[in-house]
């Protein structure tokens, strides 16, 4: 389970002075069960907004999102999310953070702690279950955040630049761990990132968005079998192709900015 239908999503923001900014314009996309899809694009292309709309944290101006056929109207039970910032509750220790979603579903303490322990061991932090977030490193915190999002067994996992704040080495390590989890748990994952390398390494498909208004510029299939080798020629070619597309967009942006600056 975890099929996502995004149809004709538009999102406009009204600025203080009354002018309108179109963040997303007519986004239509189908994502299959258990697929791993990344969203890349220059800043301001609306990739985070799109993810927030799918999560139900933001409302589309028009269009709809369905997960397994049911319409998303607000933050729901079937969708889990991992944020870029550290979103762990600092007043709860690791196990209590991971068990939070189950607590909200009214599960007894023993039951939910038993499940939480399974997910904590899945991300390799069993000896830290009593620790508080401030005692953990950045990578460990994001592992706990992943465990917490998975603990309620959502069909769809949304990840908004979850490894953006981590150093390069930890990041590569986390990517491998995420793929392991994805292969064992079988979830649909939508992953927003700035890094083309990360997108090619992880995804079945990469959606390239272009800004003002946010539209889908291209969808790139990544046909390389896993585990992927970053130094493989096919890998490098795909990464270059994505980078060029994004740089292209950024140059275009600059040009528009300069032009409007001159006016």
């Amino acid at each position: 389970m975890g099929r996502v239908e995004i149809s004709h999503i538009c999102r406009e923001f009204v600025k203080e002075d009354g002018s309108r900014v179109v963040a997303l314009s007519d986004i239509t996309l189908s994502i299959a069960d258990d697929e791993f899809v990344s969203f890349v694009g220059p800043s301001g292309c609306g990739k985070t907004t799109l993810l927030r709309i799918i999560a139900g944290l933001d409302k589309a101006s028009s269009g709809e999102v369905r997960v397994d056929g049911s319409l998303i109207t607000g933050p729901g039970q079937k969708v889990g999310m991992v944020f870029q910032e550290y979103s762990l509750f600092p007043w709860r220790n690791v196990i209590s953070n991971v068990a939070f979603g189950l607590q909200m579903r009214g599960m007894s303490k023993e039951e939910r702690y038993a499940i939480a322990r399974k997910y904590i061991s899945l991300v390799g932090l069993s000896q830290f279950e009593q620790s508080y977030p401030y005692e953990l490193s950045g990578g460990m915190r994001q592992r706990v955040a992943i465990a917490r999002a998975l603990a309620t067994d959502p069909d769809l996992l949304l990840m908004d630049e979850p490894f953006g704040a981590l150093d390069a080495q930890t990041r590569n390590h986390m990517q491998c761990e995420l793929l392991d989890i994805w292969e064992t748990k079988k979830k649909t994952i939508l992953f927003v990132t700035h890094s083309c390398d990360e997108a090619v390494f992880l995804s079945d498909r990469v959606v390239v968005l272009s800004p003002r208004p946010g539209i889908i510029r291209e969808i790139v299939n990544i046909p390389i079998s896993r585990p992927r080798d970053r130094t493989n020629k096919e890998f490098i070619d795909l990464r270059r192709c994505l980078l060029e597309m994004i740089e292209d967009e950024e140059r275009e942006e600059e040009r528009i900015k300069c032009k409007s600056g001159n006016l």
């Binding site: 999560a55 139900g56 944290l57 607000g74 933050p75 039970q77 969708v79 889990g80 999310m81 944020f83 910032e85 550290y86 979103s87 762990l88 509750f89 600092p90 007043w91 709860r92 220790n93 939070f100 979603g101 607590q103 909200m104 579903r105 508080y132 977030p133 401030y134 005692e135 917490r148 999002a149 309620t152």
Partner: protein, 261 residues
């Protein structure tokens, strides 16, 4: 400048400064002022303290003051915390209540004493009411501030995990996240409450009380006893503050160790 002196944290410095103060006080009173009414000396106060222990009403005064203090502080929490939560969580409540609060808040708590007496008579409740007025605003404002400063990420993370109703969000996300602010408000409130206590008791709401005794012994021109009660008020205030800070940090706010704020 800092940290280079050996044992800068040693209690020796505290002992040194307090002994210096006591000696200075004794010399000042005995040699310069030479008038027990204007400035009783350190030894006078110690003797007065002993007399009061043996034949005074100190326990009763302490008990009555505690009753006043806890009526006031208890009421301020009972009313300040929920009001702060409501105006912090619902913007409409903020718009409606904020003007009222801003008009009442600048009135000094002691200005309420006449009405406290008219409404509640010369009772413990009247003293409690004046203390309540002093303590309720720090509690309310800090609760409100705490609620306003809850990082949005915690609320959104909570929603994604199925914590969606206002009641659940307030209980599981907002209150724990705002707890450091609540604790700060509570601490300020207990300080203000302690100050209001003395004034509230001076108006004869009861025959006992630490503040009441200051006025009582002043009228009897026994300034050494006035000084004893002053010092007792200071030490209890210090103790309450200490209890609070350490109690909170060790238990409810343990998770904040190491957090940068």
């Amino acid at each position: 400048m800092t940290g280079n002196l050996p044992g800068l944290r040693s209690p020796g410095f505290t002992i040194l400064s307090i002994s210096a103060l006591l000696i200075f006080w004794q010399v000042l009173a005995d040699e310069i002022v030479q008038n027990r009414f204007i400035l009783p000396s350190c030894t006078d106060v110690i003797i007065a303290f002993y007399d009061l222990i043996v034949s005074g009403t100190m326990t009763m005064d302490f008990a009555i003051s505690m009753i006043h203090f806890f009526i006031g502080l208890g009421l301020s929490l009972l009313i300040g915390v929920p009001t702060g939560i409501v105006i912090g969580w619902y913007p409409i409540a903020n718009r409606l209540l904020d003007p009222i609060i801003e008009i009442i808040r600048p009135i000094p708590p002691l200005a309420w004493i006449p009405f406290a007496i008219v409404w509640f008579g010369l009772t413990d409740l009247a003293a409690g009411f004046v203390i309540f007025i002093g303590a309720v605003f720090p509690v309310l404002i800090n609760t409100y501030e705490g609620f306003r400063n809850i990082p949005r990420i915690f609320v959104e993370a909570g929603k994604m995990l199925g914590c969606t109703s206002n009641a659940a969000l307030i209980r599981f996300i907002a209150i724990p996240a705002a707890l450091p602010h609540l604790a700060a408000g509570f601490r300020v409130a207990s300080g203000v409450a302690w100050m209001c206590l003395v004034a509230a008791e001076m108006f004869g709401v009861s025959r006992f009380g630490l503040g009441q005794k200051i006025w009582w012994y002043y009228n009897l021109h026994q300034m050494d006893k006035v000084m004893v009660y002053m010092l007792i008020l200071g030490f209890i205030g210090l103790f309450i503050d200490y209890l609070f800070r350490y109690g909170m940090n060790r238990t409810l706010l343990r998770w904040r160790q190491g957090e940068v704020n």
